[in-house]
C-alpha cells in the first residue's frame, strides 16, 4: 500500500464529532485531515492524495452535496462517504447520484464508519478479477457459483452464496449488518428483528458446521468478520 491509501479527509463542522472521527480513524492507522467548512474541504480535497473522503451533508457554508459535486468536477476520484443527519431515502439517493459512493446516517457507530471506510478504501485499490476466492480451506468458484470447504461441497442458495462472497471479499474486515443488507440485498431498510443474524446463522451452519475451525465470526453489536485462523 502506498501512503495515500492511509490518508483520509474528514469534512465535518462540529469540532467534537470531527475530533472523535479523527481519533477513531487515527487509532486504526489512518492519517486524518479535518476540514471544518466546504471551502476548506474543496481546497484540501482538490490538492489531492486522499484514499477516502467523508463529507457531512450539512456544512456551514456550502451544502455537502455541492462540495462533493465540485470535488468530482475538479477531478477528485477518491471514494466519498456522505455522513448526514437526514436519513430519508431521498437524501440517500440524491447523495449517491451526486457522486457519493456510500451513505451513513447520523448517529452511527465508529465501528460501522470504520467498516465503510475500509470497504471504500479497498474499492479504490485495483480490483483483481478472480474467478476463485480462497480463505483457509474454503474455496468459492465465482463462475460455477459453488463453494467447498476442505474439498467438500457446500450447498448454498443463490442469496446465501452472495452473502458468503461479500464476507469473503471483505476477509479480515468487519462487515456491519446494514452493509450486508445494502450490498447483498440492495436494501436501505432497517429491520426491527434479527433477520440478518438468523440469515447469517444459516449460512454459518452450512459453512462452519462440523469443521475444524470457524470462518464466520460475530462482532458483538456490529456485524461479522470473515477470517481464517493464522
Amino acid at each position: 500500500m502506498t501512503g495515500s491509501h492511509h490518508r483520509i479527509l474528514v469534512v465535518e463542522d462540529d469540532p467534537e464529532t470531527a475530533g472523535q472521527l479523527a481519533d477513531s480513524l487515527a487509532s486504526n492507522g489512518y492519517q486524518v485531515d479535518v476540514a471544518a467548512s466546504g471551502g476548506e474541504a474543496l481546497s484540501r480535497g482538490i490538492a489531492g492524495g486522499y484514499a477516502v473522503i467523508t463529507i457531512d451533508r450539512m456544512l456551514p457554508d456550502i451544502d455537502g452535496i455541492v462540495v462533493m459535486r465540485r470535488l468530482r468536477d475538479g477531478g477528485v476520484a477518491a471514494p466519498i462517504l456522505i455522513i448526514s443527519a437526514l436519513g430519508e431515502v431521498d437524501d440517500r439517493v440524491r447523495g449517491l447520484r451526486a457522486g457519493g459512493d456510500d451513505y451513513l446516517v447520523k448517529p452511527f457507530s465508529f465501528v460501522e464508519l470504520l467498516a465503510r471506510v475500509e470497504a471504500l478504501g479497498r474499492r479504490s485499490d485495483t480490483v483483481v478479477k478472480e474467478t476463485v476466492l480462497r480463505v483457509g480451506d474454503l474455496a468459492m468458484d465465482l463462475v460455477s457459483r459453488t463453494a467447498s470447504r476442505g474439498g467438500k461441497d457446500i450447498w448454498l442458495l443463490p442469496r446465501e452464496f452472495q452473502l458468503l462472497e461479500y464476507l469473503v471479499r471483505n476477509e479480515g474486515r468487519i462487515v456491519s449488518r446494514a452493509m450486508l443488507l445494502q450490498h447483498v440485498w440492495d436494501l436501505h431498510f432497517d429491520p426491527t428483528t434479527n433477520i440478518i443474524e438468523v440469515y447469517v446463522g444459516r449460512v454459518r451452519r452450512k459453512v462452519d458446521g462440523q469443521q475444524a475451525y470457524p470462518l464466520i465470526h460475530t462482532v458483538r453489536g456490529i456485524g461479522y468478520c470473515f477470517r481464517a485462523p493464522r
Binding site: G87, E88, V89, D90, V105, P107, S109, R159, W185, L187, H188, F189, D190, P191, T192, T193, N194, I195, V198, Y199, G201, R202, R220, G221
Partner: protein, 458 residues
C-alpha cells in the same frame, strides 16, 4: 357593535347595491307611468280645446263677429261647457264676449298654446290654472279658447305624489329589510366568530350553536363542528403519541441514567464497565430507532415521495421480502410460502412497499403461531393488485383492528414481544401514500391482512 358590523358587512353592501338597482328600475317604471298618464290626460284636454276653437273659427267665418259673440255667450250659459274659458277681443284687446274679465296680461304670443292663472274673482278663491289656445281672426279680432286644467293639474300632481311616496316607501322598506337580513347574517357569522375566538382562547371543546333550521348556515356550522371534532381527535392522537413517545423514550433513558449514575458512584472495573457500556449503547440504539421510525413515518405522510412513483412488480417485491425473512421463519419453525399470480403490477415507491410488506411479514412471523404457516399472496382481483399476508396465530380482535395502526399501539398479548408499536403505523402511512386500502380479515384461525392497491393506469 352589531349595528356597526351590520353596516360594514359585505351582505349589507350587496343589499344596498340590490336596493339601488331595484329602486332605480321601479322609479323608472313609475316615472314612465306618470309621464304617459299626464300626457294622455293633457292630450285629451288639448284636443277638446282645439276642436272647440276650430268650431268657433268656423262659426266666425259663417256668421261673423256678432254671431260668434252670441255663440260664445250661449256656450257660457250652457252647463256642458262649464269648465271652458272664452274670450273674444277686438284688435285693441277690448273684450267683446267671454267669461274672462280682460285679456290676460301674461300672454305675450299672438297665436298658439298658452297657460295662465286668472285673477280671483273673489278673495279667498284659488287662481284657477287655464290652458288656452289663441287664434287671430281675419278681421283683427283675437279669440281665446281655454279650459280650467286645475283638476287635471291636481290629478297629475297626485300621481306625482303617489309615485314619489311609493319610491320613498320602496327605498326605506328595502333599506330596513336589508338591515334586518344583514343583521341576521352578521349574527350567524358573529356566532361562528365568537366560537372561533373561544376556541383560540380556551380550547377545542367549544362548538358552534345550531338553530335547527337546516339552512345553509346550519350546514356551515355543522361542517365546521365536524372539522373541529376531527381536529380534536387528531390533537388527542398527537397527545397520545407524544405521551407514548415520552414513555417509550423515558424508559430506556431512565435505565441508562440509572446505570451511569450507579457506575459513577462505584469503583471502575473493566468487566462490569464493558457490559454497562454495551447495555447503554443498546438502549441508545433503541431510542434512536424510535426516532428514525417516527421521522420516517412523518416524511412518508408529508407525501413528498409521490414524485418517485413508478410501475413496480409486486411479485418481485414479495419474493424479495420472503427470501429475506425465510431464515427467520425457518428458525421459528414457521412455514413461509408465496402464492398467487405471476405478474402483479402497481404504481408506487418500491422501497416503501418493500418496507410495508416486510413489516407485515415480520408481524405475521412474530405474532403467528410457532410452527404455523405464513402465506404471502400477490394477485389481481377485479383489476386491482392485492397483496395478502395470512398467518395462523391468535389474530386481532375485530374491535382492535383499527387501533393497531395507531402509533405505539400494542395488543395486550404482544406488549412484551420485541418491537416498538410503530411497524403498522408505517404500513398505514405507506398505504395512505399509495392510496391503498388495508383490510384485516379473520383467517380462522389467524389474521389475514389484505393490501388493496389502486389499479395501475396504463
Amino acid at each position: 357593535m352589531l349595528l356597526a358590523k351590520t353596516l360594514t358587512s359585505s351582505t349589507f353592501k350587496l343589499a344596498l347595491i340590490a336596493i339601488g338597482t331595484f329602486g332605480l328600475i321601479v322609479s323608472g317604471i313609475l316615472g314612465y307611468v306618470y309621464l304617459s298618464t299626464s300626457s294622455y290626460v293633457r292630450g285629451r284636454s288639448d284636443r277638446a280645446i282645439k276642436s272647440e276653437c276650430s268650431d268657433l273659427l268656423a262659426a266666425n267665418d259663417r256668421i261673423g263677429r256678432d254671431g260668434l259673440a252670441a255663440l260664445i255667450k250661449q256656450r257660457i250659459a250652457d252647463g256642458n261647457w262649464a269648465d271652458h274659458v272664452y274670450l273674444l277681443v277686438d284688435p285693441s284687446l277690448a273684450p267683446l264676449a267671454g267669461n274672462l274679465q280682460a285679456w290676460p296680461s301674461t300672454i305675450t304670443t299672438d297665436a298658439g298654446w298658452t297657460e295662465f292663472r286668472v285673477p280671483p274673482s273673489s278673495a279667498g278663491m284659488d287662481q284657477p290654472l287655464i290652458r288656452a289656445m289663441l287664434e287671430g281672426l281675419p278681421n283683427g279680432d283675437r279669440l281665446l279658447v281655454g279650459r280650467d286644467i286645475g283638476d287635471l293639474d291636481s290629478f297629475t300632481r297626485q300621481i306625482k305624489m303617489a309615485v314619489f311616496i311609493s319610491v320613498v316607501l320602496i327605498f326605506s322598506l328595502a333599506g330596513v329589510a336589508s338591515v334586518l337580513i344583514t343583521r341576521r347574517t352578521v349574527g350567524r357569522i358573529e356566532s361562528i366568530n365568537a366560537t372561533s375566538r373561544a376556541i383560540m382562547l380556551s380550547g377545542l371543546d367549544k362548538r358552534i350553536p345550531l338553530r335547527g333550521t337546516r339552512d345553509e348556515w346550519d350546514r356551515v356550522a355543522e361542517n365546521l363542528n365536524l372539522m373541529l371534532d376531527r381536529i380534536e381527535l387528531l390533537m388527542s392522537e398527537v397527545k397520545q403519541v407524544s405521551d407514548n413517545v415520552a414513555h417509550d423514550l423515558r424508559t430506556p433513558l431512565t435505565r441508562m441514567r440509572g446505570r451511569l449514575e450507579k457506575a459513577y458512584h462505584t469503583q471502575r472495573s473493566g468487566g462490569s464497565d464493558q457490559s454497562l457500556i454495551g447495555d447503554t449503547i443498546a438502549d441508545l440504539d433503541a431510542v434512536l430507532r424510535i426516532f428514525a421510525s417516527l421521522t420516517r413515518i412523518a416524511q412518508i405522510e408529508a407525501h413528498t415521495r409521490k414524485g418517485a412513483f413508478r410501475k413496480v412488480d409486486l411479485v418481485e417485491i414479495v419474493g424479495k421480502v420472503v427470501e429475506l425473512y425465510d431464515a427467520a421463519a425457518e428458525q421459528d419453525g414457521t412455514c413461509l410460502t408465496v402464492a398467487g399470480d405471476r405478474a402483479v403490477f402497481a404504481v408506487g415507491d418500491s422501497d416503501l412497499i418493500f418496507d410495508a410488506i416486510a413489516n407485515l411479514v415480520d408481524n405475521a412471523i412474530k405474532h403467528g403461531r410457532a410452527g404455523g404457516d405464513v402465506v404471502v399472496t400477490s394477485e389481481v382481483v377485479d383489476g386491482r393488485p392485492v397483496i395478502s399476508i395470512a398467518d395462523s396465530g391468535p389474530g386481532i380482535p375485530p374491535d382492535e383492528r383499527e387501533q393497531v395502526f395507531k402509533r405505539f399501539y400494542r395488543l395486550e398479548h404482544s406488549r412484551y414481544a420485541p418491537g416498538n408499536g410503530l411497524g403498522l403505523s408505517l404500513v398505514a402511512a405507506v398505504a395512505r401514500l399509495h392510496g391503498a386500502r388495508i383490510e384485516m380479515l379473520d383467517n380462522s384461525p389467524g389474521l389475514k391482512v389484505k393490501v388493496w392497491f389502486s389499479a395501475p393506469t396504463t
